[in-house]
Amino acid sequence: MSEQKTKAAEPRTDATDEPSSHKSNPVRSALRGSSGRNLGLIIALALLIVVGGVTSGDRFLNVENMLTILRYASIIGVVSIGVTFVITAGGIDLSVGSVIGLTTVVASLTSVQLAATQSSWILMVIVALAVGAGAGLINGVLIAYGNVVAFIATLAMLVGARGLAELISGRSTQIVSNRDFLQVMRSELLGIPILIWIFVIVAAAGWFLLNRTTFGRRTIAIGGNLEASRLAGIKVKRHLVYLYVLAGLTSGIGGVMFLGRTTAGTSTHGLLLELDVIAAVVVGGTLLIGGRGTIMGTVLGVLIFSTLVNVFTQNNLDTSIQALARGLILVGAVLLQQRFAARGPRRMKS
């Protein structure tokens, strides 16, 4: 992708802004780089909210509607966190949408539901997570050990998992009948729906994992310079497998959320979700060539798209105009983010 250019050329431009000030400012270094980018996203989000408020007034600016936006964002959000890791390491996962479909189908199979009723609804969750992780494992092994390009391996999984899901479900929609499961998935905690909590927890865990653990450091290192990481003694292949399993796992969680939210498992769940997910991750500021990843950015990216959809619906826009506007806003958000990415550090200095 043409970020190569950006990568090769940009650091120098960035550098102009912070020459050789060798003092270690903790605040500055904590905010390092990403702050400026996130600022752009926050402004884009704020603009959207203002537009929503102006065009739809109270109908838009009320707690219920905010929860609607967040509920909608939660599934895409959870999966985006997993994919952020993969992309940060320089990979890609196109299969998350299909894998979600597959997990919902398998977890809502009559036999699984029966077993879950007899034991505990947790079983359905475990099945979904296992299917997701299993698909991720296949992706990871193909990519790391089979040397299949990630784009192709996960494209194959995209096609294959969807086919398998159709085959297993016989293309029919399987209704979830486990009342305990549905009740839990629809419950609230402190007035906030459980789906949103899951998103919050996964995002927080993802942030911690990426920024505060060796796992995260290695992920960034592999994305930044795979060969150097290998030379430094990192088991690169094994780590890549972990990453795709992680993405598969978040797809599994997404599948569970789908089951709870739609009360049904079907092979069409998650159709084209990968595009939304990748768009959110990239708009968030994670580099497609790897080496830089931001969970905060991804969360903001997801929120921007969800708010956008909400504003469109509030205004009863024609779907074609929605598509057109979405394209423009996508570009606009990235331009805005880039403006601030370039400016951010300079501001910090003063």
């Binding site: 293309r171 929609t173 939210r261 739609t262």
Partner: protein, 318 residues
């Protein structure tokens, strides 16, 4: 078997039509089964073929790409199948290749989405999309009678399909006749996830609603989930297509879903039966006509709790 010596139309009877005739090879091509109704179309078509030992069905991969579907039909023509049942991704786009098949002497049965030329199909089997909208609109009018301020919402399917446009037009026309209009309209994509996602947004945008028409019962699973999630029940809903799930909801009497308008998922199955008859030179048994008609438009009846037990057995499990 098309070179059967019996060139005279048979005087059709049910038994005669059921009786095994010459082997018939039928090619079937339809859109990708990316939503429940289309999945049901495929399953019903395969099931119909299995009923007849004399039918050999070839099913091409479902696709939304006109280029690929044309190629599939070309393959059927090359293979010299006896008939082609075609549910085109786009009626106009598949017209030239259908004409080519007809010119090659292969009868084409056009299902659901209509060709742009009368020469492209031997027989056309259509659901009544406009009629569906009218039925739904009429039912809504009846239920809301006297309430001129009523808020009516519509959850459409894929906006770019002519069938969605026809349904919406029928709905709007019917509402107009009783002085109502559509206040909120969203388009899902015929999938459960799309239904759920758009409906939760719709409910948020419209704090009070009196009636909803949802074009498709498969996306309806998601729509109902969203309504449940939001805890809303101040309105009633009318479905579309007529899935078994939806009918069970109607039957239960506890759901906001009070009615659904049937859009038969057995169209392709009908197409296959008709193709067999055409190839075997048989006619439809209860018609006086000696040939299969040129055009069959299926009715779009409204199913409510009053008549649901009548429709449930033939409804499709989406």
């Amino acid at each position: 078997g098309s070179e059967d010596t019996n060139t005279q139309p048979t005087n059709a009877s049910v038994e005669g039509n059921q009786a095994e005739g010459d082997q018939v090879v039928i090619g079937f091509s339809g859109p990708a089964a990316d939503h429940g109704w289309l999945g049901a179309i495929n399953s019903a078509a395969t099931a119909a073929a299995e009923e007849y030992p004399d039918v050999d069905l070839r099913v091409a991969e479902g696709t939304n790409d006109a280029n690929l579907q044309i190629s599939q039909v070309e393959q059927f023509i090359n293979d010299g199948v006896d008939a082609i049942v075609l549910l085109p991704t786009d009626g106009a786009a598949l017209t030239p290749v259908a004409i080519q098949a007809m010119e090659a002497g292969i009868p084409v049965i056009n299902v659901d989405r209509e060709f742009s030329s009368p020469f492209a199909a031997r027989t056309t089997v259509l659901g009544d999309n406009y009629g569906m909208g009218v039925s739904a609109g009429t039912y809504v009018c009846e239920q809301l009678e006297g309430n001129d301020e009523a808020v009516v919402a519509e959850i459409a399917g894929i906006d770019s399909l002519p069938l969605t446009q026809d349904r919406s037009k029928g709905f709007a026309d019917a509402l107009e006749s009783c002085g109502l209009d559509v206040d909120n309209r969203v388009a899902a994509d015929f999938t459960v996830q799309g239904g759920e996602a758009t409906t939760s947004q719709l409910l948020s945008a419209a704090p009070k609603i009196d009636a909803i028409w949802n074009h498709d019962d498969d996306q309806g699973v998601g729509v109902l989930a969203a309504i449940d999630n939001a805890g809303r029940d101040e309105f009633f809903m009318v479905g579309g297509a007529g899935s078994a799930n939806a009918m069970r909801e109607i039957e239960s009497g506890e759901s906001v879903l009070q009615a659904t308008v049937i859009y038969p998922s057995t169209q392709a199955a009908d197409g296959i039966r008709l193709a067999r008859l055409i190839v075997q030179n048989k006619a439809m048994s209860d018609l006086v006509e000696v040939e299969v008609p040129k055009r069959v438009v299926l009715n779009a009846p409204v199913v409510t709790s009053d008549n649901v037990d009548q429709y449930l057995p033939t409804a499709f499990e989406s």
